[in-house]
Amino acid sequence: MTNPVILELKDLTMQFGGVKALNQVNLSVKKGEILALIGPNGAGKTTVFNVVTGVYKPTNGEILFNGSSLKGKSRHRITKSGIARTFQNVRLFGDMTALENVLTATDVHNKSGLMGAMFTSPRSRREESASRKKAQEILEFIGIANRSDQLARNLPYGDQRRLEIARAMGTNPQLLLLDEPAAGFNPSEKKALGELIVKIRNSGYTVLLIEHDMSLVMDISDRVAVLDFGEKIADDLPKLVQDNPKVIEAYLGVPADAS
């Protein structure tokens, strides 16, 4: 692949007290690919997302997004620069409608603030209507447009998961970080979600996907990186990763991960 690298982790280390959640991890995500990040529970996958999105400052190492370092950038600026995520445990704004959830995210690129809103400046008016249109389009794209006026917390579980993706897309990201988006799904829901993720990628996004379901991973990802105890033990084409003895050992060594 000749695609440029969009996200690069260089010797990334994240230490929590005595625990090295990430230990000198190197990883590059290429533009336009679906890269799956797998590994047993506690391997450090979510920590990768947390460090990339600015939730934690890495103990060591560097993160480059489109070639420039994210060091010292606040969380909302990282999001504005083009990285958006979902959460392993759904964390929607439950008291807002589905549409408002997405709108909150689309606001990141709007320029008008409180004064513009209060005095209905032309720019505020323009941005509000453009945001609504865009948020509605995203909900349609994800397939939950019929939910747009319902409170997020009243949505069925599957739609909540999809709304998380829609909200992340609201920030107009280049790179989407999806943290176990199919958790709790049955096989047919998983398949539909896989198709959705491919559709998202095909419309121009890059996807870094944490997922436990191997058949889903094998189906849709272009490349698979494997973490074990905070270290990257493999990074290859799906087929090759599947047969990698280190990977098999990591998974067999932690049989509890079957969940």
Partner: protein, 341 residues
């Protein structure tokens, strides 16, 4: 299904067309302006002239409850020092009115601006704190403002400021002891403007940002909300409202002293917000009106005001923890229609 007054009201509003809405708003506003007519009826207050009660405590406390609601109810920032902004507005009126010979309306924008500035300074200093820490530091701020005033001879120290001028006669309306309704109508106008501002902000970017911050500020920030900026705005907006209330209060009472701006006032206003329904404008108004009117109406209650407040809050927190009229709990009517298609 239990009857829900909030949903009932919201339903009527949602089903109405534009003209019906204008009509309803008009009826409400006319009714509010006509309240002084209730003097000498069942609603009359025994200790204080009824129309004065409409201005203070009812009008002023309602206004301040609306301002504090943006901070506490909408954005989830527990501010226990709200009285400080009220004090800044009042002292601005007391000091500038005399020294610069400015009338109430000229002082008003200055009082509001200075209150906003103190909101900005306090916010910048404390908004990185969360929850209980924020509450304690804002409480301290309110007390510091009061104690500073108490120890500053230049602004009257414990004697306060006397002989503050009443507002000038405006559009033929006289502002003096014989015309208490002028004050009430003025505060009513400010309340209506505040309600309109809050409603507009609520359905646009600032309202969404506040709502997101209240529900999960970490996620809000990760979704691109500049949480620090919008928390500051909540503080500054609330401060502006408190400042306006302070200016008007000083010019009506003609006298202010540090004693008036005690922690109690912050607590009262917070109680109105919590009692009425955090985050819901109409709940907050209902809470402020009921809780400031009832002790005036029922004589023996006014002596035991604090005790009653405490009891009411404890009972409410157990029976109806979200307040009389809780914040939005339902979806818009529109979605029902869409689903049935």
């Amino acid at each position: 299904m239990t009857f829900n007054l909030r949903d009932y009201g919201a339903n009527i509003w949602a089903r109405a067309n534009k003209w019906q809405r204008y009509l309803m708003a008009l009826v409400f506003i006319v009714a509010a302006f006509s309240l002084p007519l209730l003097e000498n009826t069942f609603f009359n207050t025994p200790n204080t002239p009824f129309v004065s009660v409409l201005f203070y405590p009812i009008g002023l406390y309602t206004l301040m409850a609306l301002g504090l609601n943006v901070v506490v109810g909408k954005s989830g920032l527990l501010d226990l020092g709200y009285v400080a902004f009220y004090a800044v507005g009042a002292y601005t009126a007391g000091l500038l009115g005399a020294s610069l010979k400015l009338n109430t309306w000229e002082v008003m924008p200055i009082g509001i601006a200075l209150a906003m500035l103190s909101g900005l300074i306090l916010g910048a200093a404390v908004l990185r704190l969360k929850g209980d820490y924020l509450a304690i530091v804002t409480l301290g701020f309110g007390e510091i403002i009061r104690i500073t005033a108490l120890n500053s001879p230049a602004i009257g120290a414990s004697m306060g400021i006397t002989d503050i001028a009443n507002p000038p006669t405006t559009f033929g309306f006289k502002f003096d002891l014989d015309n208490p309704e002028s004050y009430y109508w003025t505060i009513l106008i400010i309340i209506i403007i505040t309600i309109m501002a809050i409603r507009i902000l609520s359905i646009r970017r600032p309202g969404r940002a506040w709502e997101a911050i209240r529900q999960d500020e970490d996620v809000a920030e990760l979704m691109g909300v500049n949480i620090y900026k919008y928390k500051l705005w909540a503080f500054v907006f609330g401060a502006a409202v408190g400042g306006a209330a302070g200016v008007l209060f000083a010019s009506e009472s003609m006298f202010i002293s540090p004693n008036i701006f005690k922690l109690e006032v912050s607590i009262f206003i917070l109680a109105f917000v919590v009692f009425g329904g955090m985050g819901n404008i109409w709940g907050v108004i209902l809470g402020a009106v009921l809780l400031s009117y009832i002790p005036e109406r029922i004589r023996f209650l006014s002596d035991a005001r604090m005790l009653i407040f405490g009891l009411v809050l404890i009972i409410m927190m157990n029976l109806r923890p979200d307040g009389l009229l809780p914040r939005k709990k339902r979806e818009k009517i529109k979605s029902d229609k869409k689903d049935s298609k």
